[in-house]
Symmetry: C2
Subunit: 395 residues, 2 copies
């Protein structure tokens, strides 16, 4: 180990960026070299991506320059793509260089999990990054323009969203808001639009409060969303999805039905389930105690032995905990076990409606919309303080 | 002939809308039944379409509701598509009905002429209507989004404009303005963008003043436009154009190299050259003196026996002359031969540059940009008076 320990953080998603920001606050001068690596020079607010994907919000509103969040005198930022992690050599191979570390934080995020369903990989788009949501937005608008040239192609106006968990439901909510307006803009009869939410489970938002789920179904159906529940997708073609009972023609297919951890984690030799590494109570890999794992690449079990869902709020708390433990490790102090707290969960149903559970309260409608905005503002405050709230926050 | 003569105007382009507006001004109460037929319920400013096509102006700025231009107490408006003209029966078959006429004005506009070049019909887009320019705009933006997923596909960032006459040159000017900004928006290196202007003739803007042509070439080249002159396109494929010497890969191909008259004119049995009917000095078909032809469907010869180019300013003047002659014909008065006057011709080279000839003056740069705006405002004033100038005019 070099005299000054080197910490490398891979990924500036929720877990990675919060780790970096906390480290820069807690570490003393020359206590560690910290390098943050990210593919883009911006952090994006993943839980907002369903909006720019549907075109109901500008992409730049989900995007925060990393250099506006970190202090370059305290933390090095490298914009590069991670190609390989070599835990035995304590090295990370980047597309343009190599980094050595004493401590590694893997916050590389998730990848779509297609469960081997034929065609999903090739023909479905994903809500995963600003680039993929720009593709979805531009693809959707292009279909409207193409329909004007070819008005018998109703599949141009059919939109399939596979998966009815948080992202899928929030996305169909935005689509139901936007597509009728887009139709008007292109002089197209809005009644020709079909929005399908297709889910393998018999319910949307599995695990969510049943009363709220029913409210969400009713509200979204009243906006024209067609639900196909208990209908696993068997195959995806260039312009349709095939379920047990039918083929649904649609030129736009977005898959939100599964997330797995980053393939680099498995490639590096860590024992992983769908790209996710089980971590110890201090958020370290079971195999290597100088490797911390946060966010979609980690599995943290609750007392009953079940994994916490890979949500933004958990990733943020993991980032805080990892920073604490890194500082403690460097100083030779005692690490603190991670204790997540579920503060509240809200799912939007378009711009003016939402459902949520906050503590023991069930909320819906305006109150839930307000609460969602509060959660968003709190996050902005966590990473960027008041200036970021003023710059990116919206009420 | 019925007691009140029936006038049917087909098409609400420059020629048709001006005919209708002049008729509603000149005709007395119950002197004639006038019906204007158009596929859309709006008139569009064809000479502006290169801007929404490139995404440098909103489509709605090129669009004027027809019912805001005509007085429905004086003129009937039918939104429908013309399927067939039957001159012998004096009938017009619409997609949803039939109209009889005593006098017909054919102002059906132009269609792209592909000169039989293989693939152009199938794979090239056209600047022809608001629907086709929306397609171009959405197509272009989609290519940038796709490039981010597939960064080795440089053809996504290559743009071919076939034809370097007015529309082609004005369009590459807008592309050169917009595409670098679009690249920035998608985090793409602008230097990867290629804009090709490909022309069969050895010059751009054939027939235009040579000094101004050289200025235009210089200015557009400085903005990155690559000119391939004296390079007729031999073939168009789904993602390239092939000329004598090379194949240029490009996912976006826009054809502006030829305009012909509407096929309905030939289908109706009129003797036509590329869909255009030669008209007499009063703008009537040589074969039927109750059929007037304006705009892209007409050929009006100058004293030397050469046709005037099918421009907006000629079509507008034709509309005025046709309205005058229709009123004269109905009243049994003497018709007036059409005498076009070329007031001025300005071609834009993007938002901040232009070239033009006004009277005997050559103009370029800011002065030409200003003059183009004046020409645009004069047209708005012609069809809609001060209110339309205030609503749609921009300086």
């Amino acid at each position: 180990m070099s005299r000054i320990p080197r910490i490398v953080i891979l990924g500036a998603g929720y877990g990675g960026i919060v780790t970096a920001i906390r480290l820069q606050k807690e570490l003393n001068y020359n206590e560690a070299d910290v390098t943050l690596v990210n593919r883009h020079d911006y952090h994006y607010i993943t839980t907002h991506l369903h909006m720019p994907a549907a075109g109901t919000d500008k992409p730049k509103n989900s995007r925060i320059n990393i250099l506006s969040l970190i202090d370059e005198f305290k933390i090095d930022f490298v914009k590069s793509t991670v190609l390989q992690i070599k835990p035995q050599e304590q090295k990370v191979i980047l597309s343009d260089g190599t980094l050595s570390y004493d401590y590694l934080v893997m916050g590389l995020g998730g990848e779509p999990e297609t469960f081997g369903i034929p065609g999903l990989q090739e023909y479905a788009m994903n809500i995963r990054s600003l680039n993929t949501v720009n593709l979805i937005k531009e693809h959707i608008e292009y279909q409207f323009a193409k329909f004007k040239q070819d008005p018998h192609r109703l599949d141009y106006l059919s939109f399939v969203v596979g998966g009815a968990n948080f992202t899928g439901i929030e996305f169909v909510g935005e689509l139901a808001d936007r597509l009728p307006n887009l139709a008007k803009q292109f002089d197209i009869d809005p009644s020709l639009i079909k929005i399908y939410s297709i889910e393998a489970a018999p319910t949307i938002l599995p695990g969510f409060d049943q009363e709220l789920v029913e409210y969400a179904l009713k509200q979204l159906e009243s906006k024209g969303v067609i639900f196909k529940l208990a209908s696993p997708i068997k195959e995806c073609t260039p312009n349709s999805v095939i379920t047990e009972n039918e083929e649904i023609k649609a030129a736009t297919i977005v898959w939100t039905g599964g997330i797995r951890g980053n393939h680099l984690v498995e490639d590096a030799g860590f024992e992983a389930k769908r790209g996710r590494v089980e971590v110890d109570p201090h958020l370290r890999s079971m195999e290597r105690d100088n490797v911390y794992v946060v966010g979609d690449c980690s599995i943290f079990l609750n007392d009953a032995g079940n994994p916490y869902p890979p949500t933004a709020q958990i990733a943020i708390q993991e980032g805080e905990a990892v920073a604490y433990n890194l500082v403690a490790a460097i100083r030779g102090e005692k690490l603190k076990p991670f204790v997540p707290t579920i503060k509240g969960t809200v799912a939007s149903l378009g711009k003016k409606d939402a459902i949520g559970v906050v503590g023991s309260y069930k909320i819906k409608g305006q109150v839930a919309v307000f609460m969602k905005k509060m959660i968003d503002l709190r996050y902005l405050y966590t990473i960027g303080g008041i200036p970021l709230v003023l710059k990116k926050g919206r009420l």
